[in-house]
Chain length 358, copies 2
């Protein structure tokens, strides 16, 4: 399988990428074509001293504070959103923010990410480059590095453009103790802004709304927001980003993990009017629609106002609002006071509403 005319590996300028406009199976071979794809498409966007090492793993020192009892957080997310581009973002931004946010939701400061790409034969290299630029910008916004990566290519019809997995490591301050199991009766529940924007923006990009709208995904890194919140108070018991399944599912997960009751008020939930209209026409509940740049925080009553204050000082959290509180009974149940004054059980999403929104 070697070429008839052996060429000098390690030349400074590899020959131009053949089939530059489309990904071919050879780009996943691990051989010369793979190397050209890395050098000519991935590296220009993501280059940093760690990737420049070109070893099987990135190796790094961790900050000195680790010696003082800090812990590490590790998380992963695969992204299969369809379509790849949508108002307010794309699969690349989603992939970086997804893992940055999962790390942030245990109170960690994200440090380093990995990215694994599964490319479908025939993918436009221009689209790939656009997505990589988006990852670069999201990484800069979050203040993290993508330090290791992997690329595979599958035959046409065995993926849908591309899928991206990210994993990441972060550092948790010794004074931080955040978990879905830590909600306590009396905690105030804070939401960082409007719900349902991401899911509806993706539907709109699929042309499934059936009408024009200006809804943009909220996809954004939440680590600067959580950093400010934890500066304001360490009495934050739970943090979670209501992605798939929406706010209703997230609150049910927390009620179940902590074995507490939750009461929220429907009238306090911020929903963009365009999202509310779209949900009404489609028969969706915004409480079940995915978000990619929002969080809920469960905070001790004494710290709630300063945490909300800190959140409102950020652009991303300027609409933060207390939406309810934790009660001791009934454990595992989420109740909602509705607009008409009644109280109903708010259940998790059952089945599939919007496939492949992240």
């Amino acid at each position: 399988m070697t070429e008839d005319q052996p060429s000098v590996q390690g030349a400074v300028c590899p020959p131009p990428l053949p089939h530059r406009d489309r990904i071919v199976l050879g780009h996943g071979s691990g051989g010369k074509l793979s190397r050209r794809l890395i050098e000519q498409v991935f590296m220009p966007a993501l280059r940093n001293p760690f990737l420049d090492m070109r070893d099987d793993s990135a190796v790094f020192q961790i900050p000195m504070m680790i010696a003082d009892g800090a812990r590490l957080a590790l998380s992963t997310d695969s992204h299969v959103v369809s379509p790849l581009f949508f108002p307010g973002g794309d699969i690349g931004r989603l992939a970086v923010c997804g893992t940055v946010n999962d790390l942030s939701m245990v109170g960690a400061s994200p440090l380093y990410l990995t990215a694994g790409f599964i490319l479908e034969e025939g993918l436009s290299v221009a689209d790939l480059e656009r997505i990589l630029q988006s990852m670069k910008h999201a990484a800069e916004e979050a203040g993290i590095f993508i330090v290791a990566g992997d690329t595979k290519v599958v035959q046409k019809g065995k993926a849908d453009g591309l899928y991206i997995n990210t994993a990441g490591v972060g550092l948790v301050d010794p004074l931080v103790n955040i978990s879905g199991a830590n909600a306590k009766p009396g905690d105030i529940i804070i939401l960082s802004g409007s719900i349902g924007d991401h899911g509806i923006a993706v539907l709109q990009a699929r042309g499934e709304l059936g009408f024009e709208s200006q809804i943009e995904s909220d996809v954004a890194p939440l680590n600067h927001l959580t950093h400010g919140m934890l500066e304001a108070s360490k009495e934050i018991h739970v943090l979670r980003d209501p992605t798939r399944g929406g706010l209703a599912t997230t609150l049910n997960e927390i009620a179940s993990q902590s074995q507490v009751g939750i009461i929220i008020e429907e009238t306090l939930l911020p929903v963009n009017p365009a999202v509310a209209s779209a949900c009404e026409m489609l028969g969706f509940d915004p409480l079940n629609v995915a978000n990619e740049g929002k969080l809920v925080a469960f905070v001790s009553e004494s710290s709630a106002s300063k945490v909300i204050e800190a959140m409102k000082h950020t652009e991303i959290g300027k609409d933060s609002v207390a939406i309810g509180r934790v009660v001791s009974t009934p454990p595992g149940i989420v109740l909602m006071k509705t607009q008409i004054g009644s109280t109903r059980i708010l259940d998790s999403l059952s089945g599939e509403m919007l496939p492949r929104i992240c």
Copy 2:
């Protein structure tokens, strides 16, 4: 989208998995069906105290030695092998070993892995369970935990059964300094066993050999082997596992990264007779065929014999052998003394030989 009859989330025994025999889109919703899939299929295989936390990230202390100047390693690999099961392994074993080995190849002791699953609608749950069992066994064999995971479901025809990404973190001893850029003239090149077994085993599983054979993939975790090698000597300059592109591509990468020449001897390369026959009939060069349980080590001449000795004391490295050495010129070039006594340039794999072998 809430159900007409709200049920109590957090019940100890969730109802049996509907459509138990096949994955449906709802298993990727993030809602109740997702939860059932996690509780009834993923957790029984992979359960550990980290996954039991059910938070967005796993949080852990790292060993005290970190204070003494140790570093962390981070790596990722996506796995798209076709078929999912092959002689000697499956995609689950491959996914665990792939990242364990990438960490081992910088001299790290692997600690924790993440696993991201992309499931195709219609995948048999029995196959998924078999693959998860295989991951569990490989993790036990390597002595690591899978501490965080993610599951997405895509429509039928948008994947090929399932794809698995793994990422992992490991600890690097302060005295270890291993990189593809560290090869030095005079280094002895050691190979840990026969080449080509994995690639040919996968071809055989596809029914593409056209004849019967007993070839098994070599897929295995290499961390215990590298641990023993580093106990024997810290004078190991390069470690790499010759996966996609085979040994020829790996040696070319190292020659290029270190800007050294490499000379190996064809007669010293261990190739299983069945692999050699298969390669001859198919027109493949075993030097370009993937391995998943082998490594090459570049070791200072003074330490080579004790490193080989340590390798031979392990089952996985019992056939270890010195296959060549590093020279100063020509930089970036790999030369091979052939069986007939001539010397030829050994080039990287060009294009794609065997798609989706890992």
